[in-house]
Each structure stands twice: as structure tokens, then as C-alpha cells.
């Protein structure tokens, strides 16, 4: 079974964690990545540039109906929620959910709804509990749940909440998340090849 999307959520301390994660992925990482990083209302251009400097993937800020692309990191804009659709993303201005817009839960839930077991959800450092419900939704639908080991997180609250909500999640030190994503995607390819033989 191949994966169709990797969704990543982080908050406080996220820039460093994202840099490490995205920096560890090869330029040809084939699964589209969608990132929600909580932040202030008007800081997005800076964040995109900072992240772009750390990775060989292309980092772009999401605009409405952008197609999901391989080798690309789609970054949620500030002040909008991101909804994953079949092959693209939509934006909405609905009220913040648990004080967050963009909300990790909203984005994760929509990803799970569309891609179900083809979804990989990753929750990393943060000082609130956003992401836990969304990750549980993904896991319930057969998707993969990865969580940064709270011990390696700048702020452990968010990953700890995610582990509590999804006890069977894979808990990994920050440095191991990127290699694990590469591995998952290679395994998926091998299975796919076996099937076509």
C-alpha cells in the first residue's frame, strides 16, 4: 500500500523541528507533505524562506485549490484552515478551533477522511494539545501515526497529548523521523512492485 500524503503539525519550537525533519528528506521524496505550524497572523513569508533554506524539497505557501505535489512541502498560510481534498487543498476562514487557525486537528481530520490508510500523520513539539484528535482520526482510519519523542521536543505538551490520544503511535526521537518516513515510503514501493509482478 502506497502513501498519498504526509501531514505534519507543530507549534512552539516547530521551526527547529521542521528544519531537522525537512532537512533530512531527500530531494526526490515522492509524497506530498502538508505542514501546519502555529504562528502569528502575518509572518508567513518569513517562515517559508527560513524553511526553504533547510531543505532540498520545494517549500510553498498554500493558495486555495493548489494541487498536492511530489517533492513539495505545502505550508498552511496563517489565519486560514487547510482542508485536504482528493489531490488538492482548499482553504477556509472558519472560526479558530481550540484557539488555532490554522488548526492541526482540522487539517489532519480532512486528510484522514480523504486518504484514510494512505495518510501519515506526524505530531511534533508544541505547547498546546492541537493535533491529538486529528492524529487519532488518522489512526482510526488505518493511517500511520508518528510522534516526536516528548523527551526530544522543545515543549513536550503537544507530542505527549498525541501519544495519549493514540497509544499505538510510533514514538521517535526527532532525528529519526525523516529516516522513518523515507523507510515507510520505500516499503510501500516494494509492496507495490510485488503486487504488479
Amino acid at each position: 500500500m502506497a502513501f498519498s500524503v504526509v501531514v505534519v503539525g507543530t507549534s512552539w519550537g516547530g521551526l527547529a523541528a521542521l528544519s531537522k525533519l525537512l532537512g533530512g528528506l531527500p530531494a526526490d521524496f515522492p509524497i506530498p507533505i502538508v505542514v501546519v505550524q502555529h504562528r502569528g497572523k502575518e509572518s508567513e513569508h518569513l517562515l517559508r524562506e527560513l524553511l526553504q533554506d533547510t531543505t532540498k524539497l520545494t517549500v510553498c505557501e498554500i493558495e486555495d485549490k493548489d494541487p498536492l505535489k511530489a517533492c513539495t512541502v505545502h505550508l498552511a498560510p496563517s489565519n486560514y484552515h487547510v482542508l485536504i481534498e482528493q489531490g488538492f487543498v482548499s482553504l477556509t476562514t472558519e472560526d479558530p478551533v481550540r484557539f488555532s487557525r490554522p488548526s492541526i486537528d482540522v487539517m489532519f481530520t480532512s486528510a484522514g477522511d480523504v486518504y484514510r490508510s494512505e495518510t501519515i500523520g506526524v505530531v511534533m513539539t508544541g505547547a498546546n494539545e492541537d493535533g491529538a484528535r486529528g492524529l487519532r482520526h488518522i489512526a482510526q482510519l488505518g493511517g500511520r501515526a508518528l510522534v516526536q519523542d516528548p523527551k526530544t521536543a522543545e515543549i513536550p505538551i503537544m507530542p505527549a497529548a498525541a501519544i495519549k490520544a493514540v497509544p499505538k503511535a510510533e514514538v521517535l526521537p526527532l532525528a529519526s523521523i525523516a529516516p522513518r518516513l523515507v523507510e515507510l515510503c520505500q516499503q510501500a514501493n516494494q509492496v507495490a512492485r510485488l503486487k504488479t509482478v
Binding site: 502575518e42 505557501e61 498554500i62 493558495e63 486555495d64 485549490k65 498560510p77 486560514y80 482542508l83 485536504i84 481534498e85 482528493q86 482548499s90 482553504l91 477556509t92 476562514t93 472558519e94 472560526d95 479558530p96 478551533v97 481550540r98 486537528d105 482540522v106 481530520t109 480532512s110 477522511d113 480523504v114 484514510r116 484528535r133 486529528g134 487519532r136 482520526h137 482510526q140 482510519l141 488505518g142
Partner: protein, 294 residues
Amino acid sequence: MAVQIAETLVAGDAPDRNAPNYKPDLERIEIELLLEGVFRQYGFDFRAYAYASIRRRLWKRIEEEGLKSVSSLQERVLHDPQMMEKLLLDLSINVTAMFRDPGFYMTFRQHVVPLLRTYPFIRIWHAGCSTGEEVYSLAMLLREEGLYDRARIYATDINEVVLQRAKAGIFPLERMQEYTDNYIRAGGKKSFSEYYTAKYGGALFDQSLTKNVVFSQHNLVTDRSFSEFNVILCRNVLIYFDKTLQSKVHGLFYDSLITFGVLVLGSKETLRFMQHEESYQQIAPPEKIFRKVR
């Protein structure tokens, strides 16, 4: 209250759609049937709205009613007009703010106002104006630039309830601090507090700001063009439509703009892949202000 709404929005605990044997394709059929039924019974056409958002809003209603599936909601909605009214409120997302994206208003002042000065009379259309915050904001800007008296402003929305609120011009006092900050960053030339007085438990805005404004119901999906405009603003409305419907509404805007007229979209919207993309030039990127050039 806010927290309670937030809880239901995530819909992580829905009974049926979490089951491993749940069939998303079947759900899609159910949703399409429901929207078809709503259109034929009540005339509201949500059939080409963006799917993820519609689905999210429908499940919110399904859960609040203690139902289990889209089909069960369909049965209720088709037989009970009151349920339709509830659903209508669920499906309309009216979040807005005064001087939302201050950078846009600043750019409008710098790049669009000079163009508008060249016309003796200007017609402006706010399509999907919601509760009117954007209309009042632009009215202040036009007044400060000395253009208000030659402007005729049409403010439309599909939703009657929000239009009534827009007409009343009373906005929550607790947001005035945020709006004042926005106003300053938008290049406001006065003191924001001059525009409102605390009254009726809210901030009542200067009624002369709506002297040249006509509020009226208009559905972008089913209604036609009703005039020719120098400026059309449609911000954060088309994000709720699928691409086919977006393209159709862009046709309506194109037909309703004079040559060299200005089209304004929300800050994360584009004309990419739209049939009319080539007809516009973007003025002052990254703001989504486009000029019809052919």
C-alpha cells in the same frame, strides 16, 4: 460556547464514518443526493461547493442532531424546512473583520485610488460581503481619499441574515482594539474611534458611511450580472466553491467589469487555471488586486 462549537467542528468521534469498513465513495453519493435534493426542494445550489468543507459542515449538523449518516440528515432536511434553515446557517461561513489584511487596504490606497480618481463616478461591488465589515472599511478609506461622494456601492450576499446585520452597522465592541490596529496598519488617516459610538451594547458605526451603499441579496451561483463596475471585491468567498464553479463566477465578474476595471480576491486566492486568467494583470503583487486589460 466557543469551545463547545470547536468540539463539534472536529467531528473526530462520529460513529459511522470512523469505522474501518466505512465507504467514502458511498458517502460521496449520499452527499451528492442530499445537495441535489436541497437544490430541487429549496432552490439553494450547493452542488458545486468545495467538497471537504461541505462534508465537514454536514457532519457537524448530523452529529448535533444525534443522527448517524448523511442519508438520515437528507430525510430530515427534505421534510422539515426548519432543518433546512439550520443547515443553511451551518453551510454559510460568515467570518469577517474590519480591515482584514491591512496590507491589502494600504495597497488599494496606493495603487487603486489613483486609478479611481480618473473617473467622475465609480461603481463598486462587494460580492459576498457577509456582515459588512469589509464594506464599512472600504467606505472609510474612500471617504478619507475624497472619493466617497462619487461612489455607488453594491454590497451583496446570499444570506439575508448577515445582510440585516450589515445594514444595522453595529459590531462587537470587544473587536474594536483589533480593528483599530488594523486600521492604522491599513494607512488610516484619522482616529478610528471617530467612526463609531458605543451604543446598543455594541459599536454603532457612522451611518453616513452607508449613505451610498445598497445592500441586497444576490446569489453568485444562480443570479446574473446586474450592472457594470469599476471595482469588484470578492474576498474569501470563492474558496468555498470548486474550480468549475469558481471559473463560472469569474465569467460573471468578467462580464460585470468595465475594461481596466479592478478585481480583488482574498489574499490566498488566485486566477491560476481560470479561463479568464489572461484577461487580467496583477497590480502590486503579492496583493490579489487584478486589472482587466482585455
